[in-house]
């Protein structure tokens, strides 16, 4: 193939680029993203609705309750801000990992993925610390030691528990991605898809933090 032909082919490709799946030429996706990424977007849409239903249940309980406990003092809020900062920086490190993988800088990508996982673990640890503190103060799923609505424990533990599950799942998923990526079974699209999920976990926290922590600060 001589250079001029190559240029012509590239031009043609830019006019009508072809996409192949199992060697068969396919119609272009209107979204122009990898199918894994599109699948992750669909999952995110659905998962956002799941979280929303939890948060709306919380709002409903709270509007309906005559007295609502607000247990969070300055230390809890500071802890929450710290957690937010950690999750947000983990989003940035994830972004760095995605960019490194796109530049095919595998060692750098793995390094950033590792940092992201570490930040995720720290976030989970801080989160559990907050949980144990509340449990130590007598809060339960069904009990409010301050005498207000028992729904505080129920909503707080279930919403943050769901979020925590997502974080832990994310860390485990990232571990798999790192493994597959080091073995060259996975490429940058896998890193990008995992990154999308990780950003979503961060996104959910942007609502969980003000609604569950700040709205319950005394």
């Amino acid at each position: 193939m001589n250079p001029t032909e190559l240029v012509v082919n590239e031009k043609l490709a830019s006019i009508e680029p072809e996409r192949k799946e199992h060697g068969i030429v396919m119609e272009l996706s209107p979204y122009g993203v990898d199918k894994k990424k599109l699948g992750m977007w669909m999952f995110i849409v659905s998962d956002a609705c799941t979280f929303a239903a939890f948060l709306f249940a919380y709002g409903y309980m709270r509007i309906g309750a005559p007295v609502w406990g607000t247990p969070f003092g300055p230390s809890s809020i500071a802890n929450g801000v710290l957690m937010t900062a950690i999750l947000l920086s983990s989003s940035l490190t994830m972004l760095a990992a995605v960019r490194a993988s796109q530049a095919d800088d595998r060692s750098s990508a793995k390094k950033w993925l590792g940092v992201t996982m570490l930040l995720g673990v720290i976030f989970a640890a801080l989160h559990l610390r907050e949980w144990f503190k509340l449990i130590g103060e007598g809060w339960r799923l069904f009990y409010n030691p301050t005498g207000g609505a028992a729904q505080f424990g129920a909503t707080f533990f279930s919403v943050t528990g769901l979020h925590l599950t997502h974080v832990v799942t994310g860390v485990i998923a990232l571990a798999f991605v790192v493994r597959g990526y080091s073995q060259r079974r996975y490429d940058q699209s896998h890193v990008e898809t995992a990154g999308l999920y990780w950003h979503f976990v961060d996104l959910v926290w942007m609502f969980v933090f003000p609604l569950m922590y700040l709205m319950n600060a005394h």
Binding site: S29, C49, F142
Partner: protein
């Protein structure tokens, strides 16, 4: 970059070994057949439950030894107790709504046909697809397991209204572990549906073969695609509902249980929850669910009809598809019509009533498209077409009931009467079942490479069609006199005169059920003894008929397909494959 990706994703070769090939298969065709078989089994289980219920309603003293054997507690000596009746009713609803009506036309046919119809070798995420089936299967096993635990299945209906479903075994037998298993089963079903619909959406968007623009998609694919969206969003809300219900039951929370409840003179240790929240969450899913069930039926009928009328549908793909989109969208804003008398704010009743009435407009458009497509047609009455016609008739009858139930004032009389039961059996139950039968007779040659017996198929249709009307029109009309649903015996003074009508329905239901064994026989016989099916027995145009029956592992044997036409290239007896490069013939 796209090149490297294509290399990275290796071709998946046909799997070897029985387990990989037929059990934990990632082949969408096997998964489709697995789903279809699961719902066939579930349908017969659900039907058997309805028989037991109907017999008990008509002849409450009749002893059914098989029930006594199945549940010594629920039916001692074969005499059904009220709680066992309600348990059967709950499981009938659960199994039929989830594992038959949602599974068969959407997951079953969708899995088998959707990738072929878009010209793909498999779903976008084959492993996720396999997971989705096995999660559904586990859910079904959990639901069935409730029959074999000491207290029996839950008795709070398929809607599982809290606090009856949330407070535990104090509320009655079956409300202990039966209800827990129910909650887990439905939660699993939600997860499976989410995975399934995500897969459908991505497959349609990303895996269309060359030339298959969205405007050229077969109408069944369109319906599955829209349905996948509805299901993606609706099941996302049912999942947390089930989780919160299970939390209330096992974690001691009070999301759905208010304070001050007294069971058996014991004050319950709950406070502050709201039963209405459960109803809202449930019906926020529950109403779209009705359309999750009926949209694939729309698609199947719209897909099948042009083949047998020898011309495209009136208005082409656009009118029917846009009415489906409108129905799917509106389905999310009308759930409150299930709750007009539930204690919901009466002002909200008006807010929900208007969109509910407006959802009739796209539905009427769809019906008009089907009916007026028959005008000037060459109708061929093969079994799939008969079932499609049956679907239209049943859907009209069912839809009419909606006018009454959409208005809070008339609903306040008709709510919870057998009018409602008749209405939803017509619209979402039997309509969807008839469309599923249409699809089954239509695609059986493609799925198994054998033709089904037409004579038995037609006999099955006539008996089913007449049977359905005998049972459910009677049911709907008795509702006008206020006959209350979910009663295990007719003891009220105004219910007693209805006993003859109930007996008539029971006999008709037994005959209707018996007719289904013709279908079962036909399926089994045709599967092994039926004549070999040609590649395109009906003279249809879409891609699934452009391959062998049954299709090879990668669907098209590695052929490069190029689509030139929409799916409705018919003119009388002539038809044009979507892949045919000849000019369009659907001039009418």
């Amino acid at each position: 970059m796209a090149e490297t990706m294509a290399h990275a994703v290796a071709h998946h070769a046909p799997p070897q070994g029985f387990i990989r090939k037929y059990v934990f298969s990632i082949d969408h065709k096997v998964i489709g057949i697995q789903y279809t078989t699961l719902s066939l089994v579930a349908a017969f289980v659900g039907m058997a439950l309805s028989w037991a219920m109907r017999i008990h309603l008509a002849w409450p003293d009749m002893r059914l030894p098989i029930l006594g054997w199945l549940s010594p507690n629920g039916a001692p000596g074969g005499l059904m107790t009220p709680e066992y009746y309600l348990s059967l009713m709950t499981m009938h609803g659960t199994i039929m709504a989830f594992f038959v009506l949602t599974a068969a036309p959407f997951a079953g046919f969708g899995n088998f046909m959707l990738p072929i119809q878009v010209g793909a070798a498999d779903m976008a995420f084959p492993r996720l697809n396999m997971a989705s089936f096995w999660v559904t299967f586990t859910g079904f096993l959990l639901a069935c397991a409730t029959f074999f635990i000491p207290d029996g299945p839950p008795l709070s209906g398929w809607t599982a209204y809290a606090p009856l479903s949330a407070v535990g075994s104090v509320a009655g037998p079956g409300q202990g572990w039966g209800q827990n298993l129910w909650g887990l089963s439905i939660a699993l079903f939600c997860v499976a549906s989410l995975l399934g619909s995500l897969n459908f959406i991505v497959t349609v968007l990303d895996l269309r073969t060359k030339g298959l623009k969205m405007s050229r998609l077969p109408l069944s694919t369109w319906a599955w695609f829209i349905d996948a969206w509805v299901s993606l969003l609706a099941f996302a809300v049912l999942l947390p509902t089930c989780l919160l219900l299970v939390l209330d039951r096992l974690g001691g929370t009070s999301f759905f249980i208010p304070g001050g409840l007294v069971f058996n003179d014991q004050l319950q240790p709950h406070s502050g929850g709201s039963p209405l929240l459960f109803q809202h969450l449930f019906w926020f899913f529950g109403h779209p669910e009705v359309y999750i069930i009926i949209l694939p039926a729309f698609g199947l009928v719209s897909h099948i009809m042009p083949t047998f009328i020898g011309k495209p549908l009136v208005g082409g793909w656009k009118v029917i598809t846009f009415s489906e989109i409108a129905v799917g969208t509106l389905s999310f804003v009308v759930w409150g019509h299930h709750m007009f008398v539930s204690g919901m704010s009466p002002y909200m009743a008006m807010v929900f009533s208007v969109p509910t009435l407006f959802i009739t407009i796209p539905s009427v458009i769809a019906v008009l498209v089907w009916v007026f497509s028959l005008y000037g047609a060459n109708i061929r009455f093969d079994t799939p077409m008969l079932y499609s016609l049956g679907f239209i008739s049943l859907f009209i009858t069912g839809g009419i009931g909606g006018f009454f139930l959409a208005q809070p004032s008339t609903d306040s009389y008709l709510h919870a009467t057998s009018f409602v039961v008749g209405h939803f059996h017509f619209t979402m139950g039997l309509s969807a079942i008839f469309a599923t039968f249409a699809g089954f007779y239509y695609w059986f040659p493609k799925m198994f490479g054998r033709m089904m017996n037409e004579k038995l198929g037609k006999l099955h249709f006539w008996l089913s069609f007449i049977g359905v009307y005998c049972v459910f029109i009677t049911m709907q009309l008795t509702g006008m006199s206020g006959a209350v649903r979910r009663y295990s015996a007719l003891v009220d003074d105004f219910m007693v005169p209805l006993i003859p009508a109930y007996r008539f329905m029971t006999i008709a239901a037994l005959l209707l059920g018996a007719a289904q064994f013709i279908f079962l026989y036909n399926v089994i016989w045709s599967r092994f003894k039926g004549p070999k099916a040609p590649d395109n027995p009906w003279g249809a145009t879409t891609l699934e008929w452009d391959t062998t029956s049954p299709p090879p592992f990668d669907n098209f044997g590695g052929r490069q397909l190029v689509v030139h036409h929409g799916p409705m290239e018919y003119d009388g007896d002539e038809s044009l494959m979507q892949t045919s490069p000849e000019p369009s013939i659907a001039g009418t």
